[in-house]
């Protein structure tokens, strides 16, 4: 079960950070922030030739309580998912692709400008459901 899902723009501004209420939100924000460095490093070291689109970056770095996964879209939108070691996610890739799909539906809304903080209800509901570990149809 994910305890935090964050969506960041290509300038690393947070568009949306959702944290599980049982966890300390500040700590989650801090972990997301530190993971930005790791993502940037992975992006700059990977060459364009051998990287597929929609980079799934895998586990970013080890931490004693949490596992942190990263994902970058080809428009440089970064998605970070944090899960606890005690309650691991079954399939992080699927979570990322569902967040990505929700983000795409959000961007197709003509009244949403890319770069604005996300307040759209369907997106929030999808992310909350994903955090609880419920698969989306």
């Amino acid at each position: 079960m994910a305890v935090c899902i964050a969506v960041l723009t290509k300038d690393n501004c947070p568009l949306y950070v959702a944290t599980d209420p049982t966890e300390d939100a500040l700590k989650m924000h801090f972990l997301v922030h530190t993971s930005i460095d790791v993502i940037e490093e992975k992006l700059s070291s990977a060459t364009a030739a051998n990287d597929p689109r929609d980079l799934y970056l895998g586990q970013l770095y080890p931490n004693e309580d949490y596992r942190i996964y990263g994902y970058v879209t080809n428009t440089k939108i970064k998605i970070v998912v944090i899960e606890t070691i005690s309650n691991p996610l079954k399939d992080a890739r699927q979570v990322f692709s569902q967040v990505h799909s929700a983000y795409i539906s959000l961007v197709c809304n003509p009244f949403y400008s890319p770069g604005e903080t996300i307040t759209s209800q369907p997106f929030l509901q999808t992310v909350t459901a994903l955090m609880r570990g419920k698969a989306i149809a």
């Binding site: 692709s97 990505h100 799909s101 795409i104 539906s105 197709c108 809304n109 003509p110 009244f111 949403y112």
Partner: protein
């Protein structure tokens, strides 16, 4: 986009492109006019201009459509052929008035409003798909029918269904142009 698309018929446009184009147009109108009521009027006017041209295209491509003698026939042709040809949907005709001069079109899946969420300040006043009302009014005017067409509900605004109310006003007689007698 992570959705795949198969081979596309070159004469058809992807419905996503169509929805996005319409959405951008409504968003731009909202930025320009800032008043949702004014945007509704503009959409209706644009729809009217489309409708007066579209009717000829529709009649040319539907040789089986004959002259309609009742409003029921008009409603039938409008839904089963008109909407089907241009939007790919078939609305339901419901709620006929007792005098049979008014009816509702209920649209279940509106292709114009895919992925759209109305911003909070427009939630109560903007009819997002108002262009459709204009198209119906314009098209019917060119076949000598004067109708009043307006939205009464929209799923984007939280109503149960997207419903357009069409009211027949009168048959238009061919009138002489001004200045001639």
């Amino acid at each position: 986009m992570s959705r795949g698309r198969g081979a596309v018929d070159p004469k058809r446009v992807s419905s996503e492109l169509f929805s996005l184009t319409y959405g951008c147009m409504v968003a731009q109108l909202l930025k320009d006019f800032e008043n949702p009521e004014e945007v509704n009027k503009q959409l209706e006017t644009m729809g009217y201009n489309i409708g007066v041209r579209l009717i000829d295209d529709f009649l040319a491509h539907s040789p089986s459509v004959t002259r309609c003698s009742t409003l029921e026939e008009v409603a039938e042709v409008l839904c089963k052929q008109g909407f089907k040809m241009f939007l790919g949907i078939v609305p339901e005709v419901r709620n006929w008035s007792s005098a049979k001069d008014e009816f509702s079109l209920v649209i279940t899946e509106n292709p114009l409003a895919e992925y759209v969420e109305l911003p909070p300040h427009c939630q109560d006043c903007l009819w997002y798909s108002n262009i459709i009302c204009g198209v119906i009014r314009g098209a019917l005017e060119m076949v000598q029918m004067d109708v009043k067409c307006s939205f009464v509900g929209d799923t984007l605004r939280g109503n149960d269904s997207t419903e357009i109310r069409i009211k027949f006003v009168k048959i238009l007689e061919d009138s002489l142009p001004a200045g001639e007698d």
